[in-house]
Symmetry: C2
Subunit: 436 residues, 2 copies
Amino acid sequence: MNIPQITIPRVVIIGGGFAGIQLAKKLAKQEVQVVMLDKHNYHTFQPLLYQVSTGGLEPDSIAYPIRKILSRFPNFYFRLANVTRIDPEAKKLETNIGPLKYDYLVLATGSKTNFFGNKEIELNSMIMKTVPEALNLRSLILQNFEKALLTDSLDEQDALMNFVIVGGGPTGVELAGALAEIKKGILPKDYPDLDTRRAQINIVQSSDRVLDGMSEVASRKAEEFLEKMGVNIWKDTLVTGYDGDIVSTNSELTFRTATMIWAAGVEGALIDGLKTSECLLPGNRLKVNEFLQVSHYKNIFAIGDIACMTSEDYPRGHPMVAQVAMQQGRNLGDNLLKILENKTDLKPFVYKDKGTMATIGRNKAVVDLPSWKFQGFFAWFVWMFVHLLSLIGFRNRAIVFVNWVYNYIRFDRAARLIIRPYKKETRSKDVKVVAK
Amino acid sequence: MNIPQITIPRVVIIGGGFAGIQLAKKLAKQEVQVVMLDKHNYHTFQPLLYQVSTGGLEPDSIAYPIRKILSRFPNFYFRLANVTRIDPEAKKLETNIGPLKYDYLVLATGSKTNFFGNKEIELNSMIMKTVPEALNLRSLILQNFEKALLTDSLDEQDALMNFVIVGGGPTGVELAGALAEIKKGILPKDYPDLDTRRAQINIVQSSDRVLDGMSEVASRKAEEFLEKMGVNIWKDTLVTGYDGDIVSTNSELTFRTATMIWAAGVEGALIDGLKTSECLLPGNRLKVNEFLQVSHYKNIFAIGDIACMTSEDYPRGHPMVAQVAMQQGRNLGDNLLKILENKTDLKPFVYKDKGTMATIGRNKAVVDLPSWKFQGFFAWFVWMFVHLLSLIGFRNRAIVFVNWVYNYIRFDRAARLIIRPYKKETRSKDVKVVAK
């Protein structure tokens, strides 16, 4: 992998997400060689992926080159690599670009979509965890409307204009809201020769309320917003299958749709090689202690979605959100520096919950702060402000801001472009697309 | 194709480029049904594609949804379609979404890359006529540098960091300038563990000067700028082959490179079915008369790059540039309205040359106006101003402006993202890419 072997210890971080970046920043100026490996050469600001899918933001505005974040630090090395195996005995990684030894290993690999073993759903549904996936969804939505124009069959048109979102968490709710706004503001203008009023947006939620990780008042208000915007919410319903045409559920309810979006669950993005039987918790997350050390391994740590630290307050681990990941990255950074200096006064990780929020549409968001819950216009304003400031880099903030102002004033989403058409049948193995 | 058959005449425009859009705007409010067909659902602002390839602009900023430009007009229909054949006898088109009858047909299909029959070059070189092609080039450039890190072979590193641009027209010159700026400002920071000073940027030009469509002073100054920026210019040299590794020429000169960009020629993007033997001129352009009527066909017109109207001033047809296309679109619009009203006072097309310009780098451009030729900072400023205003849509202008200000102040190009990795071996048939 052509990384110089030097005398100072080497920390290898797998993953340039929220957790990995924070950790690397802590370590970068210290007497330690930091190697970051990621499948992409950019950091993805996942909370805004749904705006890419719905043409509100350009993909490049929520991605940021990892090299740019960290390359000014002298001991930092980045490699575009896919890690295939960890060999904890030999302290070695296997990757698609060759092996790499480590002194300390940090897994910050995040999470991936969990289909709960349902191959049919995996094959036919759309997901939205990466920029290319978000762009595929954008293409498919637009292609469906172009296709709907070509048929006289109302049934077929309805299926092409029907959206079934499985999962009523923040991703599902935010996507549904954005689709509802497109239906209202864009479709009638773009497709005057199509009765777009018949387009349907459905959220199918397994529990008895959407946003069930937030407060009950937030859920209630979010449902109210969604219903006002014309989104159908189906609660206490489990999706059991999707053959590319019909969505089946555990009740008699079925949907005919060309687009099912699966946002119903994630699991840790594991890498082979660890004694997983001994450190794996439900959801494929790695069990870590209060110092984010993976069970049974002294020099392997996990941070972010992949890590699961159970405590009295969080018996099933922390929520898999950016805030936890960032705080864990910073905590581990401080502790690792102490470990490297042979100090023993490590600081256990304690999550400081700053609150959660979700946006449903223009002037409509819900915010749960530890001491204050509020909804509506002000919540929406806070949501925008927080997300804008959380983006990395001045350029990305400026571009997103311009887009948001434009979208708000013009009721528009200008990036409705089919740059690379999406071909459904090829989705199975590694998501192939054909460029025109 | 599900387009209503009504009593007013139907004009079918193939292509939503500069020419097609201008024509459609002229016709849109009139008593005529306008159907536009395009392979993409967006208009591409091609003059800025090289900035997408080099990470300076986001692809979505130079693309604009065709539906958004024209859908507010009641008699306008857009279909995403690939026209495969024209049947002039039956006044009918064959497309991938079914047949379509026309009363008047306008070919505004533009041009495509001309490889002059060299299959090897077609297979192995990169081109830059569409947004996906520009993005493929962006990915390949970045992937090459990531790869160069992994090898100890200086030869291989040099090949990965060597860029050979064939063609010294505006595309080649502007791309070379952008690459030179990346080499100077970005590479040393992003790849500190690579000796990026060894990166080479070459322009191979068949004639005795770059920008040979412009004035001699513009060429001389452009060459001076390029050389100052470290670009190697090879004049009077024809590239004869490229096997993916070695570029051969008509002299003893060869280059070893992983990236050859072919910007050496375009030809009309023809569609089967016309008596082409009788209306085809060199470069596969359709011969049109002064009313842009295709030879031998009363109700078929051609505008933009595909059209070739020879005159005393332009014995080989007009230059294949946006200005000609836009003026032809507007001219044909006026004439078609007259034809529809059975008027005979058609206005022959006369090209009003407003000048040409090309930019080489920051503060460096060349401008030829009919009565004034100038170069340097002011030319660069004029270039930016004209291109900014020529973009369609307020949002695109605002975003491009923010990006340019940012790039200028920070000497940066933030969109250096490998969103979809480019796989060279699959380039042959219809440019397949694999998304991660």
